[in-house]
């Protein structure tokens, strides 16, 4: 009887926790759709913004956001996978493992505004790059590195030791073992990390607002050292014009587009993972 009560109590706690999370999420998404859907038109998505965003659309903001995050992904993914492989396959000493762990965790714990300030000082002031979308990508790439490293590392260390041993016993070199066993078996986890990282990166404002973006008058960049406009910085600019109802509606519309983009990232990564698992298992 006592056991039953405990079971029911435990079940209801879990149900409540799940319910609270789901309801909060549904509330956020439905508010976004409710408020933002009215703003979404073909013109809004495919035309450029005018008058600091209170008129016109958000095409260059969408392009800017995608450009920044995709480039950040291209920079950070191989780097992170490399770090994770180095950490799991080459660092044997426990003390060194602890040091690398601390470094990765610390990097993860740095507030995003610090990345922005670092980018401003190091790239813009010291290297004189000017306001550059590419610098923004580099900063975002550094910012999402720990997420991808940790997720790749976790999936590498979960590969059973027997896979490594069998490959080594077939006379494979360490690089061959990494190429044929470690990477194929861990790429899945690395993609999950990338997805989490990108979902964070695309919504960031602080790291890029000083170094990579401009609030108006921006089109498609023609070189690496031109600014772009992104959805988060655009939403920030629109929110500052809260007295203008059109600007506010555009802010909601832009937010909905941003969340949809994040959602698309998740779905495409999921599809990619399913395809991958079909090939290999």
């Amino acid at each position: 009887m006592k056991r039953n009560v405990k079971n029911i109590a435990f079940k209801s706690v879990i149900w409540t926790a799940a319910l609270v999370s789901i309801v909060t999420l549904l509330f956020l998404i439905s508010t976004l759709i409710w408020k933002g859907f009215g703003a979404i038109t073909f013109d809004f998505i495919f035309s450029e913004s005018k008058n600091f965003g209170s008129e016109g659309g958000i095409i260059y903001q969408i392009i800017g956001s995608l450009l920044l995050t995709l480039c950040a992904a291209l920079i950070s993914f191989p780097l992170a996978l490399g770090v994770a492989i180095y950490k799991s396959e080459y660092i044997k000493k426990r003390s060194l493992q602890t040091i690398t762990d601390t470094i990765v965790f610390s990097l993860n714990g740095i507030p995003s505004i610090i990345f922005g300030i670092f980018g401003l000082i190091f790239f813009v002031n010291v290297l004189h790059t000017g306001i550059s979308w590419f610098v923004g990508s580099i900063i975002l790439a550094i910012m999402i590195l720990p997420t991808i490293i940790l997720s790749s590392y976790q999936s590498i260390i979960s590969i059973p030791i027997s896979y490594r041993e069998n490959a080594m016993a077939l006379g494979m070199t360490q690089w061959q073992v990494i190429r044929t066993v470690i990477i194929p078996r861990s790429i899945d986890g690395a993609f999950t990390g990338l997805l989490l990282g990108l979902a964070r990166a695309i919504g960031e404002t602080a790291p890029i607002m000083f170094i990579a973006t401009a609030f108006s008058g921006v089109t498609f960049p023609r070189s690496l050292v031109e600014p772009v406009s992104t959805l988060p910085t655009h939403i920030l600019a629109l929110a500052q014009q809260a007295t203008n109802p059109q600007a506010l509606e555009n802010a909601w519309g832009s937010s909905l587009v941003l969340v949809t983009l994040v959602f698309m990232f998740s779905i495409s990564a999921l599809v990619r993972r399913i395809q991958y698992s079909k090939i290999n298992y």
Binding site: S162, E165, A167, A169, Q176
Partner: protein, 270 residues
């Protein structure tokens, strides 16, 4: 005429023994644990050399010293010599790839890669040389036939290796090890996770394999050693207690430890 006499003489000698791997004074320790103590023995060429003994006695460590699989272990110390191909493999061999191509290994539980059957057979050899389509086909067929798996899988080579039964998976692992054309095959309790029928098929396989390869088998199954070994080495508590040809070893063991172990599988060494 002279040749004929020589031939006759040769046939009269009981059995020609040729040493494949010679080990002398092998000591292995992990940190402060002395696992192998002054092991000196010869593994015979083209025979099933069987290492028996209780768990934790150092059998696997001995086997893994032969293809240097212990190299990556933390705080390992090795001394002594292991001669193979006129080289001390403990320090004379720099190229582990060549060593492991010469001395293949099959592990306790079958480890099939999540790939097709044919990709599994070619998994190792493909890393060592570029193969044409015809060669790939020939190698797959030859080695799957060698492990008697060909009749069962020849019409579904593209299926995943993991779809096979455990016994078939272990034979696939042996085919994969044979595909790199080793001279010696190390087998670390290869039947311990198999059912009796699969076990028998692997044992029969070993009988055939020894014609071309030197088999070094670790087992704690005394009955299995009786069935298939040619030469037996009893290792307990890190020491080689006794060794000898199968019949002599099982019918007439000399040491008290061996007698005790053969009678009730208990070890009185410690």
């Amino acid at each position: 005429m002279e040749t004929n006499t020589a031939l006759k003489l040769n046939m009269q000698t009981p059995e020609k023994m040729e040493v494949c791997i010679n080990i002398s004074n092998l000591n292995v320790s992990f940190d402060t644990t002395h696992v192998l103590k002054d092991i000196t023995l010869d593994f015979q060429k083209n025979k099933v050399n069987c290492i028996i003994g209780p768990s934790g006695g150092g059998k696997s460590t001995l086997l893994r010293s032969l293809n240097r699989m212990n190299d990556d272990a933390e705080k390992i110390k090795t001394s002594g010599t292991v001669n193979f191909n006129n080289q001390n493999i403990l320090n004379g061999v720099k190229n582990l790839t060549q060593l492991r191509k010469d001395i293949g290994m099959v592990f306790q539980s079958p480890c099939v890669f999540p790939k097709s059957i044919v990709e599994n057979v070619l998994f190792g050899i493909q890393q060592h040389k570029k193969l044409t389509k015809t060669e790939k086909k020939a190698i797959t067929e030859k080695n799957l036939k060698a492990v008697a798996l060909w009749p069962e899988v020849h019409n579904r080579l593209k299926d995943s290796g993991t779809s096979l039964s455990i016994g078939q998976q272990q034979r696939l692992c042996i085919a994969r090890a044979l595909a790199i054309a080793p001279k010696v095959l190390l087998m670390d309790e290869p039947t311990s996770s198999l059912d009796p029928i699969a076990t028998r098929s692997i044992e029969n396989l070993m009988e055939q394999l020894k014609e071309q390869y030197t088999v070094i088998l670790v087992t704690h199954n005394i009955a299995q050693a009786k069935r298939i070994s040619d030469h037996v080495f009893f290792i307990c508590n890190g020491q080689l207690i006794e060794s000898g040809a199968k019949n002599a070893f099982f019918n007439n063991p000399k040491k008290a430890q061996t007698i005790s172990y053969l009678q009730d599988e208990t070890c009185i060494c410690r």
